[in-house]
Amino acid sequence: MASNYTDRQFQGTYLFDGQMAKKGYGLNKMCYSFNEQVARDEFNADPEAYCEKFKLTEAQKEAIRNRDVIGLLREGGSIYYLAKFTGLLKLNMQDIGGLQTGMSTDEFKAMLEKNGRGEV
């Protein structure tokens, strides 16, 4: 499709291009709103109503409910905005890394240490 940025694929990687930005607009807009404490409070009080306010699709709502980061990426989430959602859940980048790769946080950290030492 011409509106894709590229046909180059990287396994396990979700390039955030125009198609994704369009698909994920409401989802990312909701996550961007989490910069404000009042928005975080409103979400926590009633997540479903807050998702509705930003017109999330059913698939996006489902992924929010399940804290399914890969699902959110597939539905157009940008990792920079999704980080604000996962931050609201008190998850850090290693927790999110574990969730996406099917590892525990400690296993994911061990992989980072190994990669950092160049043992790959």
């Binding site: 955030f16 125009g18 030492r117």
Partner: protein, 282 residues
């Protein structure tokens, strides 16, 4: 005239802000990272730059994808940090340099770099973490900062060859400014890392070190990479290397590496700290 007297590359990840806020610098995890910084701090305290031109990327504080500038720069006298949503402490305002900023904007837009020019611009960890690393305890208020923000989030985004040229144009603009000011350029972010997807967790130590070497002695080699080449080698957020490449574009002649500390991992990334000098115009 204004002179670029040197340049610095540094990580800007938010975990550094948390480590500093919680006094973790001497813990085994963080010590090898923070131990790299005193020589750079000493150099800055000795040279006392008037202005820092700081290349960074906004991670969704000032800019949303409703309007996403490819290049944006601040022209204000002051910039504010704000709540980014996930708990790093908000830090005091950053001092700007409006006159030189407008001079740079006038010069580079005329050269063909169509910047978004910002009189108000909230600055996120991409800018504040490096400042606090160089002047811990938020003691950066005396130095004037010109934020230059490059889109590294949404494709299409500027390619390395373009960000290198942006750096060159900014270097020329500084050299044509009449007031005597000492300027240091910060390229922040990178290096290899990937936050999203099943491929999350990539760190490519060999690639990072090769990039640092090339930033010193062969920057043109880096401009031959496309952003997707960077993704392939270093993960999806390795495109932040564009900020380091832009920094390098501002330097002239033979570049001397005064200090380097590569350490990995910190959080999910490789961290490349370098202090560089160049052949200043006579």
């Amino acid at each position: 005239m204004a002179n670029i007297i040197g340049a610095v590359t540094t990580s800007h990840i938010p975990a550094i802000a948390n480590a500093m806020a919680n006094g973790l610098e001497e813990t085994p995890y963080w010590k090898p990272f923070f131990d790299g910084y005193p020589p750079v701090r000493d150099w800055l305290n000795e040279k006392k730059p008037d202005v820092i031109i700081l290349f960074y990327n906004d991670h969704g504080l000032e800019f949303f994808i409703d309007k996403k500038p490819t290049f944006a720069m601040g022209v204000a006298d002051e910039y504010y940090n704000a709540d980014e949503g996930w708990g790093i402490p908000t830090i005091p305002p950053v001092t700007g340099e409006s006159d030189l900023s407008w001079h740079i904007a006038n010069s580079i837009v005329d050269e063909g770099f169509d910047m978004t020019i910002c009189q108000e611009m909230k600055v996120d960890h991409g800018l504040t973490v490096p400042l606090n690393l160089m002047w811990p305890g938020h003691k950066y208020g005396h130095v004037k900062v010109i934020p230059v923000c490059i889109n590294c989030e949404q494709y299409p985004m500027p390619q390395p060859k373009r960000t290198f040229e942006l750096g060159k144009a900014i270097g020329r603009a500084v050299a044509s400014y009449e007031e005597d000011l000492n300027v240091v350029v910060f390229g922040t972010g990178g290096m290899s890392h990937q936050l999203d997807g099943e491929r999350a967790g990539i760190i490519n130590r060999t690639f990072d070190i090769d990039c640092l070497d090339k930033l010193v002695s062969d920057p043109e080699a880096l401009t031959k990479y496309t952003n997707l080449d960077l993704v392939e080698q270093g993960g999806s957020q390795a495109v932040e290397l564009n900020m380091l490449i832009a920094m390098r574009g501002t330097l002239l002649g033979k570049v001397t590496e005064l200090h380097r500390n590569y350490h990995a991992p910190i959080s999910n990334t490789g961290s490349g700290l370098m202090l560089l000098e160049h052949e200043m115009p006579k």
